[in-house]
């Protein structure tokens, strides 16, 4: 019941919550897509469907398990795609960040227009390496709510148009490397490009948890730590 829709969503990387009756109406199922409020199927009772759908408006989504909903015993199952991380800028820090991020369960993609940096020799460990203008590449992709984006180029031409793409797409995390002064210039440019202050404010800058490190691998670790904090909804993420 609802299998084909669930199958397609999982392959497309969409978030889905499946509600399945585990009581007398065994097997009756409602699927809810929390990111657009879509639903399919029924638990055989409109009030129950409504109560179930209301559970998918929380962040994080409900944990997988049996629970009582409006007097019915329902198995709730949350399907979340693997978090994906886009690293814009095939720089030194990125090499270390790919190591940490992959070990921490992120599907990791490195994007840079500069073919001298974005080489398979430097990034044999990335899930994907893309040599293209980051904004062009990112605007073609389904950026889901479990997408994390890190900007490391130090180059406005590469960073800013791509920042605009991911901020407008509503991804889970956006962080950008750079000093206060660099970030100030970035904020001005994005504002001039027409982005709202609210969206611009979603950028984590300075990027990473403050671990006091300066070496590329220490900066990469600080960024990886921030990604984990955001993924887990920890207060350490500063949001």
């Amino acid at each position: 019941m609802g299998f084909e829709s669930l199958r397609q969503s999982l392959l497309a990387g969409e978030r889905v919550v499946a509600f399945t009756r585990a009581d007398a109406e065994l097997g009756a199922r409602l699927l809810v897509w929390p990111d657009d409020g879509r639903s399919e199927g029924t638990l055989t009772d409109p009030d129950l469907d409504q109560a179930a759908a209301a559970l998918t408006t929380t962040d994080p989504l409900p944990a997988t398990g049996l629970r009582e909903i409006a007097g019915a015993e329902v198995f709730v199952e949350t399907f979340e795609p693997l978090p994906q991380l886009f690293i814009v800028g095939a720089v030194h820090v990125a090499i270390h960040l790919v190591h940490f991020a992959r070990r921490l369960g992120f599907r990791t993609v490195v994007v840079d227009a500069r073919s001298a940096f974005a080489t398979a020799e430097r990034f044999p460990h990335a899930d994907e390496l893309v040599v293209e203008w980051p904004a062009d590449y990112l605007s073609r992709l389904p950026l889901h709510a479990n997408t994390f984006c890190v900007f490391l180029t130090h180059d406005e031409k590469l960073d800013n148009p791509a920042l605009q793409v991911v901020l407008e797409a509503g991804v889970r995390y956006v962080g950008a490397l750079g000093s206060k002064r660099t970030h100030g210039k970035r904020v001005t440019a994005l504002r001039e490009a027409g982005l709202s202050a609210e969206l611009i404010d979603r950028i984590h800058a300075p990027i990473g948890l403050d671990l006091g490190g300066r070496k590329p691998e220490e900066i990469a670790l600080a960024i990886a730590a921030e990604l984990v904090a955001v993924r887990n909804g920890s207060a350490a993420s500063g949001r």
Binding site: M1, R7, L10, A22, L26, G27, T64, L66
Partner: protein, 104 residues
């Protein structure tokens, strides 16, 4: 689910009926987390798992009637320490699974 999807697709592609068992409740330490799946085809194929090996055989048997009549089943298994020891597990918990036919 993603782990068993390739097998399910292959079986459906071959025109076979498929049932899926899902872990919906566990008590005590159990080897497979909630939501773990085992898929069974009417030709006897098995993919995935719902325990460390102690209840797969029993679930496979139960899945045959689900494949036949399409009526889902909720099954409950206690894993005694003795049985668990026999299959090399240290668990002494309890597992419930929901078995249903999919893709009708």
């Amino acid at each position: 689910m993603l782990d068993v999807l390739p097998d399910i697709d292959r079986w459906h592609g071959a025109g076979l009926k498929v049932a899926v068992a899902t872990v919906i409740r566990t008590v005590g330490s159990s080897p497979r987390p909630l939501g773990s799946k085992m898929a069974v085809s009417e030709a006897g194929g098995i993919a995935g798992s719902v325990s460390g090996g102690c209840i797969e055989g029993a679930v496979f048997e139960e899945a045959q009637s689900v494949l036949e009549d399409g009526r889902p089943k909720r099954l409950r298994y206690g894993i005694s320490d003795e049985q668990a020891w026999a299959v090399g597990l240290t668990c002494g918990g309890e597992v419930e699974v929901l078995v249903e036919r999919i893709g009708d």
